[in-house]
């Protein structure tokens, strides 16, 4: 009788090593289910539309967008922040949950890391295309020039460049590192050009004890390096606003506010992706309802941080006795954009509270609906912060509303399309969950667990050795 899978307490169903591996490699080795084809096709078409919208922006100018005086940052920055926020779930699951020895992250980390990678890629396009003279984008990078000029480092946009690049590098590395054992397995099981491709990508992985030891060291090290990134990247992005004098932006609580919001929206998007995925690929045994429950709890926790900040913002605007700040808050609540503000409050403050109750949090259908609503709610929050604050600042003569054009919408839907298309391609190439689970997860509740696939457990790793 083949041995039960060592992770039998986390995954559901009767699995052995072999049966689990076969299941996880199905998305790669078997033809894709119909929903995949629909998603990939829609994503591809939207990506083409996105490229066209970028082409129009570059050739005709930023006037094709809906930005105006004073709302010079519109959908471009709203979506930039939205996408960067979404990426944070992947890094948190990849990094922080490893260091906290939360083994349940193993089912989720592949999809969320892929989500992070494409979210950051989508986000990174916005600072590039929103520049009036994007052909000189490299002037923001620090390198010696014939102008004997350097970038201005006091600007949060300079910090953004470093933050986004770091984030992109770390996310890619994490995804890749996690993939290596899977790639080696696929190498063994495939032929022809696929074998060559997986062979190159797997970097000569043999699965030996030495490789596993090094792998775990590298993984934990990368997790340690990536942990500050979870907090710092979105804090730096929030400084784009906190650094400004615009009423509604000039708050020191922006960095923690944005960090909480990022985790909240990231987990929401992760839920939006994982729930259909587990249904279409019949992975309910691997991505179980307990996993979704845990994710729901993290969503609730971070969402409460966001909700608290909304209320605090209102209080601070009143308490500060700054006429412009309080006028901004009132305008948000009662002005022409009030429906957006109240929708945001409804979703992120009121509907969030349903996650307290297991009846809702464990209901997969409600979790899916809420995750979509949460993403919309966070979109609305960025809209409130970026657009509504800018349209109503100090002098009444400057107040002006914002209305996006078709280019703005196409750019947004296009990034969504690129995101979905990229994920679809990735699902087809790499398994949705790492198969060698025991060797990345460490121990549960302090007990060491000897697993057949790897030698050396956490205590071994912490003993001083030269690698």
């Amino acid at each position: 009788m083949p041995e039960r899978h060592p992770d039998h307490d986390l995954i559901q169903g009767e699995w052995t090593e072999r049966s689990l591996v076969e299941k996880l490699l199905e998305p790669v080795e078997k033809p894709p289910p119909r929903p995949w084809k629909v998603v990939a096709a829609v994503g591809f078409v939207l990506t083409l539309a996105w490229l066209y919208a970028i082409f129009v922006t570059f050739t005709k100018g930023l006037g094709t967008w809906g930005i105006n005086q004073p709302v010079l940052w519109g959908f471009d920055i709203v979506h930039f922040v939205w996408w960067i926020g979404i990426g944070h779930a992947g890094t948190l699951i990849s990094a922080i949950l490893v260091l906290m020895r939360q083994n349940w992250r193993d089912s989720l980390n592949r999809i969320t890391e892929a989500m992070t990678l494409f979210a950051v890629l989508c986000a990174a396009t916005y600072p590039l295309i929103h520049m009036g003279r994007a052909q000189h984008f490299y002037w923001i990078l620090p390198y010696p020039t014939h102008m004997a000029l350097w970038p201005q480092y006091k600007s949060p946009l300079s910090w953004d460049v470093l933050a986004i690049f770091t984030y992109l590098t770390i996310s890619t590395l994490f995804l890749y590192l996690g993939l290596i054992p899977d790639l080696a397995l696929l190498r063994e099981r495939s032929q022809g050009w696929r074998k060559k491709l997986y062979g190159w990508l797997s970097l000569g992985w043999t699965g030996s004890a030495l490789h596993w030891r090094r792998y775990r060291a590298a993984y934990v090290l990368l997790a340690g390096l990536a942990t500050p990134v979870v907090i710092s990247v979105h804090s730096v992005v929030s400084m784009d606003f906190a650094y400004g004098v615009v009423p509604g932006w000039h708050l020191t609580l922006f960095p923690p506010f944005f960090a909480a919001g990022a985790i909240y929206s990231g987990f929401a998007m992760a839920l939006t992706l994982l729930i259909p995925l587990r249904k279409w690929y019949r992975l309910e045994g691997v991505i179980t309802e307990r996993h979704l429950d845990w994710m729901g709890k993290v969503t609730l926790a971070s969402g409460l941080g966001v909700a608290y900040t909304y209320l605090l913002e209102i209080f601070i605007a009143w308490y500060s006795a700054e006429p412009a700040e309080w006028a901004q808050q009132l305008w948000r609540m009662t002005g022409p954009y009030a429906p957006y503000y109240w929708a945001m409050m409804l979703i992120n403050v009121v509907l969030l509270q349903t996650l307290w109750f297991p009846r809702f949090r464990r209901n997969v259908a409600w979790l899916f609906v809420f995750s979509i609503l949460a993403n919309v709610g966070m979109w609305l929050e960025r809209f409130v912060i970026v657009v509504i604050s800018l349209s109503h600042d100090f002098l009444p003569g400057n107040f002006h509303l914002y209305s996006p054009t078709w280019v703005d919408w196409t750019l947004f839907l296009g990034t969504l399309g690129f995101f979905l298309f990229g994920l679809a391609v990735l699902i087809r190439l790499f398994p949705p969950s790492p198969w060698r689970r025991c060797c990345t997860s460490t121990t549960s509740l302090g007990s060491t667990r000897e697993a057949p696939c790897c030698t050396g457990t956490w205590p071994t790793l912490t003993r001083r050795r030269s690698f």
Partner: protein, 212 residues
């Protein structure tokens, strides 16, 4: 070790080295320096006018032709009349001067080719430079030794900033501004900073000095 792994090791360390070299290349300023040392090519002109002969050999003053240099942003090019002040009598039938004579007789402009053409967003004014003791040769080189004029140093922003950040070693007394053979004296330059009221580097490198 297995051949594949040796391959992979070479590839890996090779790329690490490659990235390191690329960073060194960019951040050492090699890419910057190359631009500055680039000498301009001699610019061919419709009439083979030799500065080496006229300014160097004959000793004609720069201002005889480039007369606006003391009061205008541009140095100016001479009207054909200036050429004809001599060439009506000196070598009046030379084939080299055919175009000059044609311009004089028809009243049409002589179209010289520009050697120095700054971009439109750079506003250079010759007058304050001449007034404060910056010699012609400082920027334009030894024109009195050039049979065909070329620009010795590319006019990048760095070129201008190098002087604006430290003008003293490049200043000369006003009387020597048009003397191309003069070599500036840094000691004297420091005194001239005070004498000619040359502003300190923070003010000289303020963006509005050249960009409006």
């Amino acid at each position: 070790m297995r051949r594949r792994n040796r391959w992979l090791k070479t590839l890996f360390w090779g790329s690490v080295l490659g990235v390191f070299l690329a960073l060194v290349l960019v951040f050492s300023g090699v890419a910057v320096g190359a631009l500055e040392q680039r000498e301009g090519r001699p610019v061919p002109q419709p009439v083979p006018f030799s500065h080496a002969f006229h300014a160097g050999g004959l000793g004609l003053s720069c201002r005889y032709c480039h007369s606006a240099v003391e009061y205008a942003p541009y140095a100016g090019l001479p009207p054909t009349e200036t050429c004809m002040t001599c060439h009506l009598y000196v070598k009046p039938d030379s084939p080299n001067l055919a175009l000059v004579r044609e311009s004089w007789e028809k009243g049409e402009l002589l179209r010289w080719n520009r050697v120095v053409n700054l971009p439109d967003f750079v506003y250079f004014h010759h007058a304050p430079h001449v007034a404060k003791g910056v010699g012609c040769a400082e920027c334009h080189g030894r024109v009195d030794q050039m049979p065909v004029v070329y620009q010795p140093k590319a006019f990048t922003m760095k070129f201008c900033l190098d002087c604006h950040r430290n003008p003293a070693p490049r200043l000369r007394p006003r009387e020597q501004v048009f003397n191309m053979a003069y070599v500036p004296d840094p000691e004297l330059g420091r005194e001239l900073l005070q004498l000619y009221h040359v502003r300190p580097p923070e003010e000289l490198t303020s963006c509005n000095t050249c960009h409006r």
